[in-house]
Symmetry: C2
């Protein structure tokens, strides 16, 4: 049932062969038989391993979906905001670990329209997975279903924003940028009951404004460090 190192090697060889050939002569000019031949297997084996020529570009997609789902399932009501951030970070880390391979995929997908469609389809699956959990978590809010969809879209978009910057070599610290992006995206997350509007508090006190400000500052720092 679990991963056999033997079968993983065959898949890996196919992936490596595919990326080599795509870089050499382009995606359309590479046939499934070319890939299979370079990997030293038959054409049938290629289609058994991947099902389609596109799938060889995004081999661990299913596994990533599973890990996100697990992370979200493990959240308690108090840790949901953190779980959302970390589940999203799982994907970012995966690409960062891939390194040059991720960048090769990015160049490839950017130049082949057919692959772009495939990629956005995959992104949509992430978004739907987040939305499924969030609709449950936010079901008691007013406009909860809508806000769940919006937050799911924001999480995925914020992730892609940072990932794209890293893929283009426009950032040296993607993790910090990701933290900031998650903070902005999670502005939409209001754990049930906490209304999104501002509160006006009127009180009588002898304290000076400066003293009150000093009392409040730690709370603000805690909320947005």
């Amino acid at each position: 049932m679990s991963e056999k190192p033997r079968s993983a090697t065959t898949k890996d060889r196919l992936v490596a062969a595919a990326f080599e050939l795509f870089e050499e002569r382009g995606f359309d000019a590479t046939t499934a038989e070319d890939i299979a031949r370079r990997a030293g297997v038959g054409r049938t084996t290629f289609f058994r391993a991947f099902g389609s020529k596109d799938d060889v570009i995004f081999p661990e997609h299913e596994e990533l979906l599973g890990r996100i789902d697990q992370r979200l399932a493990a959240a308690t009501p108090a840790t949901r905001a953190l779980a959302l951030s970390e589940a999203t970070r799982v994907v970012l880390r995966h690409y960062l670990d891939e390194g040059e391979l991720a960048r090769a995929r990015y160049r490839l997908v950017g130049s082949v329209p057919a692959l772009r469609a495939r990629e956005t389809g995959g992104i949509q699956q992430y978004q739907r997975l987040f939305a499924r959990w969030l609709r449950e978590w936010m079901s008691d809010l007013s406009d909860g279903q809508l806000r769940a969809d919006l937050l799911a879209a924001d999480l995925v978009t914020a992730h892609n924003f940072v990932l794209r910057r890293w893929l283009r070599d426009q950032t040296s610290d993607p993790e910090s940028e990701f933290d900031q992006a998650m903070r902005v995206a999670l502005e939409r997350y209001q754990p049930s009951g906490l209304e999104p509007s501002s509160a006006v508090v009127v009180l009588r006190t002898s304290a000076t404004p400066a003293a009150i400000q000093a009392q409040l500052q730690p709370l603000l720092d805690d909320e947005a460090p």
Copy 2:
């Protein structure tokens, strides 16, 4: 150069034939030749008109993109929020006007994975178009590029949320729900300078809390009617 009624008729006949056959025997079981034959034209003509079997499902996609772009291009800085809402509404109205055809497409796309990928690809194009304009409009904000992407995602998501409800016959007043959805989505739109965080105001006054509340109430009513 402009639309000839003759050529439009051929395209329309092909679209009608395609939807008929897809409903009769399903998407995969229908060949391009079947569609062409029922429309009374040759297979070559079909591919000349649509380029691919998928394209026949989303015939006016390009035109819609153009209309959104025009609407956004016509906005002035003061009317941008309205322009965003109306540009999005262009798409909603288009589907509402299609009526049963839109629902047939929805059923079809929902049951054929390959078409789902195509549709999300189209949605992504809308989102990128909005993002292109918003990045320009929000370039002077802190995190403007990120917030532009997020708002673009929110607009598209909010639209899809209402559209899907209408397609499933879960709403009798999609326009009102759309207005509400746009209000929620546009919470992210902060015309440059207006900071999104809450303000804490400390003041000394002899007024009673009730009097102050009475003063503030109209402002809150105005902000969220």
